[in-house]
C-alpha cells in the first residue's frame, strides 16, 4: 500500500496546519513568554520580574517560521524531481496557511481583550499583559500584520534554506549521525588503541573517581540535592531496566516497590506511629528485602499474563498501594496522609554520617554497587535467559528456559533496587508520605529507561541526567516538563525505539518489520511475540 506522492501543495498545507495549531497552542499556554525568556537568557537582555523584551518574541516567531518552512520543504519521493521552485512553493503555502490561521486567532483574542473581557476564567494564562505582549505592544491590526508577515516570509526563507542545505529525511539523518559518530569513535584505530589501552582506562577511572570524591564537597547543598535525586533515579532506572529492558515485562506500577521500600524504612525508624527506631543500615536492608518479597508475591499470580495486561495490573497495584497508604482507616499503621517524619539518618562506626555531602557519597556508592551488580547479572546465565525471554518467550521456553521463574526473578531483583532507592530517598528527605509515591514516579522512570535506551546502563545514566537534572537547570520549562515527557515518549517510539544510547546487544524486539512486511505486521507480531 504505497501512498500517493505528496505534492508540494499538500506538504505545504500539512506543515502550515501543524504549525498553526502549534502556534495557537503556544499562545494559549503562555509558552511564548517562556520561549522569549529563554531567548532573553541567550541574548542576555533579560530584566528580572518583567515580561521579556518584544524583540525576543519576534526572534522566537522568526525561528518558528523558519522551522515551518523547513518542515514544508520535504524531500520528494525518489522518482519525483526535487526542484527549488517546489520547495519554495511549499514553504510559501505553509507560511500563508499558518500565518492566516495564527493571525486570525491573534486578531480574535486581541479584539476580545480589547472589548474588556477577561479570558482568564477559561484560559488562565491569557492575562491582559500577556496579550499585549504577544501583540508586540502594537495596535491590534499592526500586530496581526506583523505576525502574518513574519510567518509568510520566514517560512518561505526557511524552505529555501532547507532546500539549499540539502536535507534528507531528518529522522534518518539523526539516526545516521548518531550511529556513525559512535561508530567513528569506536572504529578510529588510533582512538581505539588509546581507549583500549589499560593505562588510559585506569586514568579514566581515576579521573571519574576523583570527580566523584571532590565534586560533592565543592558544589554545595543545592547541587548535592539535585544530583542525589538524579542518583536515586539512576537506581530506580537500573531496577526497572532489569524488568522492562532485560526481561521485557512492562511494569507500570514500579512506584509501588519504591513506596514499599520507603515505608518499610520509615515505619521501622520513625518515632511515629510505631517507635521501633531501628538502626539505619538494618532498616535499609529490611526495605530492600521487603520490596523484593512484594515483587515475588505480586509476580506469582500475574506473571502468567503477557505484555499489556501486566502493565495495567501493575498500574492498578501501584494505585492500590498509594490509596492504601493515604487511607484514613490504616492511619494507625501507616500514619495516613500525614506521612512519616524524622526518619533515621545513616551512621558510620557510631559517627553521624548525614550531611548532604555524606549522603551524596552514600548515593554514589549505592549507584556504583548497583551498576556492578546489574552488570554482573546481565552478563551471567540469568541475564542471557532474560534476554531470550524478551526476544521470544515461546522459543526460549522451548530451549529449556523456565520463563516463569526467570520473570519472577527479574521482578524481585528489580523491586529490590526500587526498595533501596525508596529507603535512601526517605532517609535523605527525613520524610515519606503518600504523595511521594504517585504514578508519575513510575512514568518518569519508564521514560528515562526508554529515552536512555532499554537494556543499557550508560543509557539510564544519561536518561536520568536528561529527565531529572535538565528540567531543574532549565527552570523556565518546569511547567512544560510533563508535556515534553509525553511527547518525547511518542516521538522516541516512532523515530528511535531503541533509545539514545542503545545497548550493544541488538534489540530485535524493538525493531519494526521492514516496510514491505508492514501489511502482514500483525500476523508476524501475533505469531512471534508473546
Amino acid at each position: 500500500m504505497k501512498t500517493k506522492h505528496a505534492s508540494p501543495l499538500q506538504n505545504g498545507l500539512q506543515a502550515g496546519a501543524i504549525f498553526a495549531i502549534l502556534i495557537i497552542f503556544f499562545i494559549l499556554t503562555g509558552f511564548n513568554e517562556t520561549a522569549a525568556n529563554l531567548v532573553g537568557r541567550v541574548l542576555n537582555n533579560q530584566v528580572p520580574n518583567q515580561l521579556p523584551a518584544t524583540i525576543n518574541l519576534v526572534i522566537f516567531v522568526i525561528l518558528m517560521a523558519l522551522w515551518c518552512g523547513g518542515m514544508a520543504a520535504k524531500k520528494p519521493e525518489l522518482d519525483a524531481p526535487d526542484r527549488y521552485s517546489d520547495a519554495v512553493f511549499a514553504g510559501a503555502v505553509a507560511g500563508l496557511l499558518a500565518g492566516l490561521l495564527s493571525a486570525a486567532f491573534i486578531y480574535l483574542t486581541g479584539s476580545i481583550a480589547a472589548a474588556g473581557t477577561d479570558m482568564r476564567g477559561y484560559f488562565p494564562e491569557m492575562s491582559p499583559d500577556y496579550i499585549n505582549f504577544y501583540l508586540l505592544n502594537q495596535p491590534l491590526m499592526t500586530a496581526v500584520l506583523y505576525h502574518f508577515g513574519i510567518m509568510l516570509v520566514g517560512s518561505t526563507l526557511g524552505a529555501l534554506m532547507a532546500r539549499g542545505i540539502g536535507r534528507s529525511s531528518w529522522r534518518k539523518k539523526l539516526n545516521q549521525e548518531v550511529s556513525s559518530s559512535t561508530k567513528k569513535l569506536s572504529q578510529n584505530s588510533a582512538f581505539e588503541r588509546v581507549m583500549n589501552s589499560k593505562y588510559s582506562q585506569y586514568a579514566m577511572f581515576a579521573l571519574l573517581a576523583a570527580a566523584l570524591i571532590i565534586l560533592p564537597r565543592e558544589w554545595g547543598p543545592y547541587w548535592n540535592y539535585l544530583m542525589g535525586t538524579v542518583g536515586i533515579y539512576i537506581l530506580l532506572g537500573i531496577g526497572l531496566n532489569i524488568i522492562v529492558g532485560l526481561s521485557g515485562q512492562l511494569v507500570l506500577g514500579y512506584v509501588a516497590f519504591f513506596g514499599i521500600g520507603a515505608y518499610t524504612f520509615g515505619l521501622l525508624t520513625s518515632p511515629q506511629p510505631h517507635a521501633i527506631m531501628m538502626n539505619f543500615w538494618l532498616a535499609l536492608i529490611a526495605g530492600v528485602i521487603m520490596a523484593a518479597i512484594t515483587g515475588i508475591l505480586l509476580g506469582l499470580p500475574i506473571l502468567r499474563l503477557r505484555g499489556d495486561y501486566l502493565a495495567i495490573v501493575t498500574l492498578g497495584f501501584g494505585e492500590i498501594i498509594r490509596i492504601l497508604l493515604k487511607a484514613d482507616i490504616l492511619e494507625f499503621f501507616t500514619a495516613g496522609p500525614k506521612g512519616l517524619r524524622s526518619l533515621a539518618q545513616p551512621t558510620l562506626f557510631g559517627q553521624s554520617f548525614s550531611t548532604d555531602v555524606d549522603f551524596m557519597y552514600l548515593i554514589i556508592l549505592a549507584v556504583i554497587i548497583s551498576i556492578f551488580i546489574a552488570n554482573r547479572i546481565e552478563k551471567s546465565r540469568v541475564g542471557r535467559a532474560w534476554l531470550s525471554i524478551r526476544e521470544d518467550a515461546i522459543v526460549s521456553q522451548a530451549t529449556g528456559v523456565d520463563t516463569y521463574r526467570y520473570k519472577l526473578l527479574a521482578l524481585a531483583i528489580g523491586a529490590a533496587f526500587a526498595g533501596l532507592a525508596g529507603a535512601l530517598f526517605a532517609s535523605r528527605n527525613q520524610f515519606t508520605g503518600p504523595e511521594d509515591h504517585i504514578l508519575m514516579v513510575s512514568i518518569n522512570v519508564l521514560c528515562l529507561v526508554i529515552v536512555g535506551g532499554m537494556g543499557s546502563i550508560p543509557g539510564i545514566i544519561l536518561g536520568s541526567f536528561v529527565l531529572k537534572g535538565l528540567p531543574e537547570i532549565l527552570r523556565e520549562f518546569e511547567a512544560y516538563r510533563m508535556l515534553a515527557f509525553g511527547a518525547l515518549l511518542v516521538v522516541m517510539m516512532i523515530i528511535r525505539p531503541e533509545g539514545l544510547l542503545p545497548s550493544s546487544r541488538p534489540l530485535m524486539e524493538n525493531h519494526k518489520p521492514d516496510s514491505q512486511e508492514k501489511n502482514q505486521g500483525e500476523v508476524v507480531e501475533d505469531a512471534a511475540h508473546s
Partner: protein
Amino acid sequence: MNAIEKKPAKLSISTNLGRIIRTVIGVAVLIWMALRFYNVLTVEPFGADVWTRIAISGLILGGMYALIAIGYTLVYGILFMINFAHGEVMMIGSFGGYFAFEILKNIPTPTADDPSLTFINAYPILSIIIAFLIGMSLASMSGYFLEKIAYRPLRGAPRLVPLISAIGASIFLQNAAQLLFGPQRRDYTNPGILWRGTGWTVEIAGSPVIITYTGVFSFVLSILLMIGLFTLVQRTKLGRAMRAVAQDKKTAALMGINVNQIISQTFIISGALAGAAGVMWGIHNGLINHYVGFIPGIKAFTAAVLGGIGNIPGAMIGGLTLGILETLGPAALGIDFQLKDVIAFSILVLVLIFRPSGILGEALSEEKL
C-alpha cells in the same frame, strides 16, 4: 482464531507454586468478603433505601463506564492494543461540552416573557444536543488524530512499542489540558431542566430516595448509544467491515476493505462514545478538570476486561457490573468509601488472575491473551 490449545507437558515447581498462591488468594478473598458482608448485614444493617440509592448511582456510573469500555474493546478487537489515552479522549469531550454550555449561557435570547433569558434556558433541549454534538465531535477528532499521529506509524511494531506511545500520548494530552485550562476544577452549567440534585422522589422503606433527572438522563442516553452502536456493528456495511478487520486484517484487505480507513473510523466511533460519556460525566457529577478522564479510563478498561476484551456486549455488561460493584462494594464490605478505587483495581487484578477472558470472552489463544 482457531488456534490449537497448547498444553504444557510438565509444570515446573514455580508454576505450581503460582497456582497454589492463586488458589490461596482466591479462597482468602472469598472468605474475607463473606465475613464482612455477614457482618454488615447483621451488625449494622442498612435500610432498603440506602441499598436502592447505592444501586441507582452504581447503574448511572456503570452506564458511563460501559460507553468508555466499548472504545477500549473496539480498538483492542482490531489492533490488539490498549488505547491508554482513551480516558483523555473522554476528558476532551468533557471540556467540549463544558465550553459549549459556557458559550450558550452567554448568548442572550430574549423572549416575550423574560427579556433576560439566555440561549441555554430558552432552548434547553437544543442546548443539550449542541453540547453533546460538540463534545462528541471534539473527542472523535482527537481519537482520529491520536491514531494517525501516535499509533499508525507503529503499526506492526511489537506490542510494547504502541503501548508506550499510548502512555506518552495520555501524559501529553493530560498536561496539555492542564496548561490550557489550568489545574482548577470547573463547574458544569446545566440547563434548568437538568439541574443537578433535583429529581423524582420515591418513598422506599419510609425514607425518600431521589432519582435525579441527570442520572436518568445519563443512563437512558448511554443505553440508547449502546443500542445504536450494537446496530451499527451488526447491521451496517461499516460494522461488517469492522468485524472483518477484527477477524483478519489481511483477508479483509484482500476482500477490498480499506483497512486503514476502517481503523480510523473505529477510533472516530470510540472517540464519539467516550466524548458522550465525558459530557454525561460533567452534567451528572458537575466538576471536571484535566484529570477527569484518567481514573474513569483505567476503570473502563477494567470493565472491558471484566466483560471480556474484544467483545462489545461484554464491555456493556462489564461496565454496568463494575459500576454497581464499585458503589456497592464499600457498603457491602463495610469499608470506607474512600477505598472504592481499591475495589475497582482489585477486581481488575482478580479477574486477570482467575479469568483473563472475562465474563463473555471467548477462550483466547495464548498469542491473543
